[in-house]
């Protein structure tokens, strides 16, 4: 009995969290958001999906005839499932640093700005110009034009709270 109640309470709390995050982007109280904001909403709820995973999820919650808007009705159950199943888990700090080390083939401890730019815009799920510029402006050590990625990861993890 108590278990059932607490399970319900947990789900109910999850629903409210999702509703809150959704409402921040729902300017007109229309119970729908622009599809381009859905990724931000999902990520702000603590998930780390890749672009591919994101597109999959959007396809799930979109209308049959895509309208450019995602309705809360459809979003809520899908997102609840994601949170309950703990999908798209955060990336541990050391795994992240390892990823940088892969790119840092010479094991210098840092990446040149041009190097990182190349990887980010050509490999994986490429960044746009804006995205990579922003990353560099946050990451760059101005004096030497390189990115000390261990420091970067620490700093951004701290800022991310």
């Amino acid at each position: 009995m108590a278990d059932k109640e607490s399970a319900e309470a947990v789900i109910s709390e999850i629903h409210r969290r999702i509703a809150e995050a959704f409402n921040v982007f729902d300017n007109e109280s229309s119970k729908s958001v622009d599809v381009r904001e859905v990724g931000t909403i999902i990520r702000s709820l603590g998930c780390f999906p890749s672009e591919a995973e994101l597109h999959e999820m959007i396809a799930e919650v979109e209308e049959e005839e895509p309208t450019g808007y995602i309705r809360f009705e459809k979003f809520l159950p899908a997102m609840t499932k994601v949170l309950m199943e703990r999908k798209f888990r955060p990336i541990p700090k050391d795994v992240l640093i390892q990823a940088f080390e892969v790119l840092d083939q010479e094991k210098k401890g840092y990446l040149e700005a041009e190097e990182l730019k190349k990887y980010m815009t050509q490999e994986g799920e490429p960044f746009s110009q804006d995205e990579v510029e922003e990353m560099l402006s946050a990451a760059l050590d101005n004096k030497e034009n390189v990115i000390f990625y261990k420091d970067l990861v620490s700093k951004m993890t701290f800022e991310d709270l």
Binding site: R43, Q98, L103, Q105, E131
Partner: protein
């Protein structure tokens, strides 16, 4: 040969795959980091807007308080007609004003601009140069300028009609709110007004920013130099009662100690003489706020606009009429009006879907400089719980839950008199906001005007053969926004409105094709380029401070609400209950769970330690020994008390008599139903009369109710 290359290729393939996976990982992580920043940016915006709109609602309380005072007390101090009645009563004898400025001597030591009328380009250049050099225009020239402006505006129609013939592009600017830097930036980017470069300024030139006087001087000067190429629409802040609260009156009085009142009186007339709308090529309508389903442009063209001195003062009605209206509503069921108000509210924009008509407290506090201050609604902190309905017999008491005159007109289908109809049309144009859903509902949060839907827009545009509605009135992050199928443009020209970095400003240009082109800008004080994180953090921190001050100002109500969920007085409650309590007291419609990490601490098991909400903000200088409850109440009313003190303090000495203080407080508390007994106020008054000479330095008094943010120091350490 063969083996070597194939191994190399294989290795390369492996490395490539690894690199790709690493890249994806990094991108995933970074995109999530950016999403978090975006969420913070959005809720920061929500916080500012919620607090601003909550403050605007409460503006009504102050104006209804003034009305109450006016209707019931002709003299506050007993020494003759006071400033309030002077300020609020319409101008009686215009002729007697005369050319009084001529008598004002300008000393040789004055090195500011000396204007010569009629004005020419050299005068406007001199003014711009002087203001850039932080000079103030001498009162003599200011008064002369205002006289000339008033004369000029008298002959303008209510609706100005312009054309883009001669292939001229017209530039349209939105709210400036006393930010001279933005105006100068616009002139820098877009050129000064001239016969080749016509401008329309769409209202809200004053209040909030510190250079409202300078902005008016510049705009009026250009108006006189280029009367056919410079056009000003009235905004809802071109209103002397709004100015009392939002800073313009104070600015004038501080810059012009001797002639301030004269200047303000002139401006009262000038504001009401500003045209209400501009139409370009019979196709583009420009008004400050918006429209309603009752807007009738032909009627608007015929009204006597100068009679509508303030949106917050309904045309004077007899007591009987007011009482009648009151009883009628009583009969209809007061609660019904309240609840219908609430449900109406819920269907409109989310930010405003709070009902303020709930007696258990949609109240707010004075807060940081960027957002507007406010007055508590019904029950002060001392008596939480529903306020009893006023009995129908009390005609003399203005109600505190609603503003009778505004609400009664807004709710009325047919205004009673021509005067009221004219007033309503003007208020609709200056105060309305567009919304997403169809229909037209009273804008209960602004307290005037309507929320108008796309159908209302379509109908009006069709009716008058128009194509586009350009309006301002609402701050937009990008400086502009389109809605209603691109038929409505909001243009807002005060960048960094809430805080450094909060939003851009914009202006738009229209050529004969009437296709709008937008130009954005942002005044920036720091030359170093900030990262996205830094920009977001600065604005967020400012919003959180404002929010925490609100928490502080509602501490006792919040604690009561928290304790309702904490029967065993453990000191902590679930996040869910905490969020419910916060919303029920503050009614700001904010994402409380998302904000929680910024506002309160968790226990090890994940519950919220609710006391920690109040840890960061503490009273500044507790030099005055009073009960915490009274302190909280006074804190909430700080800015309004300041306004009232400034009005009473006719000689600007900073001192008022104990008697005046006592009287003011009595009026205040009886009007607001704040239950502070006379004895406490008596003691308080004596306590703050530090040198026992029968007068109170009210700035010192108010200083005692400032708050300090303890985390400020810590944040600076972290950098």
């Amino acid at each position: 040969m063969g083996c070597g290359t194939s191994v190399a290729t294989e290795n390369q393939g492996k490395i490539s795959e690894k690199a790709m996976k690493a890249a994806v990982l990094i991108q995933r992580w970074y995109r999530r980091y950016i999403a978090r920043l975006e969420m913070r940016r959005r809720y920061t915006w929500s916080i500012f807007q919620s607090i601003e709109y909550a403050g605007e609602q409460e503006q009504l309380q102050l104006s209804s308080f003034f009305s109450f005072m006016l209707d019931n007390f002709t003299q506050l101090s007993g020494n003759g007609p006071d400033l309030i009645s002077n300020l609020l009563e319409p101008e009686v004898s215009e002729g007697s004003r005369g050319a009084q400025f001529e008598g004002i001597l300008v000393s040789d030591s004055y090195c500011g601009p000396r204007l010569s009328f009629p004005l020419t380009v050299s005068d406007t250049n001199a003014l711009l140069g002087a203001f850039k050099a932080q000079q103030t225009l001498h009162a003599r020239y200011l008064l002369q300028l205002l006289h000339e402006t008033k004369k000029f505006l008298k002959q303008m129609p209510n609706i100005i009609r312009l054309s883009t013939s001669c292939a001229k592009e017209i530039t349209i600017c939105g709210d400036l709110h006393g930010r001279l830097d933005d105006l100068l930036l616009i002139f820098y980017k877009n050129g000064l007004p001239s016969t080749e470069n016509p401008y329309v300024f769409n209202g809200d030139f004053v209040d909030r920013g510190k250079k409202s006087v300078e902005i008016l001087v510049v705009l009026f000067a250009f108006l006189l130099v280029y009367p056919d190429h410079m056009h000003l629409n009235r905004g809802n802040h071109e209103d002397h009662i709004m100015n009392l609260r939002y800073g313009f009156t104070k600015e004038v009085m501080q810059k012009y100690r001797v002639h301030g009142r004269e200047i303000l009186r002139l401006l009262q007339d000038i504001f009401s003489l500003l045209p209400l709308a501009t139409i370009i090529d019979d196709k583009v309508l420009i008004v400050h706020g918006g429209i309603s389903n009752m807007t009738d442009l032909d009627f608007v063209g015929s009204i006597e606009r100068h009679k509508v001195k303030s949106a917050l003062r309904l045309p004077r009605q007899s007591f009987d009429h007011m009482g009648l209206e009151w009883e009628r509503r009583e009969a209809k069921g007061y609660q019904d009006t309240q609840s219908s108000g609430r449900s109406r509210g819920e269907t409109t924009r989310k930010r405003r879907s709070r009902s303020r008509k709930n007696s258990s407290g949609s109240s707010s506090s004075s807060s940081s400089s960027s957002s507007s201050s406010s007055l508590c609604s019904p029950c002060g902190s001392l008596h939480p719980g529903p306020t009893p309905l006023p009995s129908p017999g009390l005609l003399g008491r203005t109600d505190i839950l609603q503003v009778p005159f505004l609400d009664s007109v807004v709710a009325m289908a047919t205004p009673h008199s021509r005067e009221e109809e004219e007033w309503k049309q003007v208020v609709d144009l200056l105060w309305s906001d567009p919304k997403g859903q169809n229909g037209c509902t009273p804008n209960t949060f602004r307290g005037g005007g309507c929320y108008f839907g796309p159908d209302v827009t379509r109908r009006l545009l069709q009716k008058h053969g128009l194509r586009l509605l350009v309006r301002s009135h609402e701050c937009k992050q990008e400086g502009y926004e389109l809605c209603h199928d691109d038929q409505v443009i909001t243009i807002f020209s005060a960048s960094n409105y809430y805080e450094e970095g909060s939003n851009r400003g914009a202006y738009l240009k229209l050529g004969p094709d009437l296709v709008p082109r937008f130009f954005q800008y942002q005044v920036s004080r720091c030359t170093r380029k900030l990262t996205l994180h830094q920009r977001v953090s600065v604005v967020e921190s400012s919003a959180l401070k404002a929010l925490k001050e609100k928490l502080f100002a509602h501490r006792s109500e919040l604690m009561t609400a928290f304790q309702q969920y904490d029967e065993d007085s453990k000191g902590y409650i679930s996040t869910s209950d905490w969020a419910k309590a916060m919303e029920s007291v503050l009614r700001l419609d904010l994402p409380w769970r998302t904000l929680r990490p910024r506002l309160a601490r968790l226990t090890p098991d994940g519950s919220v330690e609710y006391q920690s909400c109040f840890e960061d903000v503490c009273p500044g200088q507790p030099t005055i020994q009073i009960s915490p409850n009274l302190a909280e109440t006074l804190y909430r009313y700080r800015t309004d008390l300041e306004i009232i003190f400034n009005i009473i303090d006719k000689d600007h000495s900073g001192l008022i008599s104990i008697d005046e203080f006592r009287q003011t407080w009595k009026l205040f508390s009886s009007h607001l139903n704040v239950d502070v007994d006379d004895r406490t106020i008596e003691d308080l008054a004596r306590t703050i009369d530090f040198n026992k000479d029968g007068s109170i330095d009210f700035n010192e008094f108010l200083e005692a109710f400032r708050v300090v943010h303890k985390l400020d120091g810590k944040e600076k350490q972290q950098g």
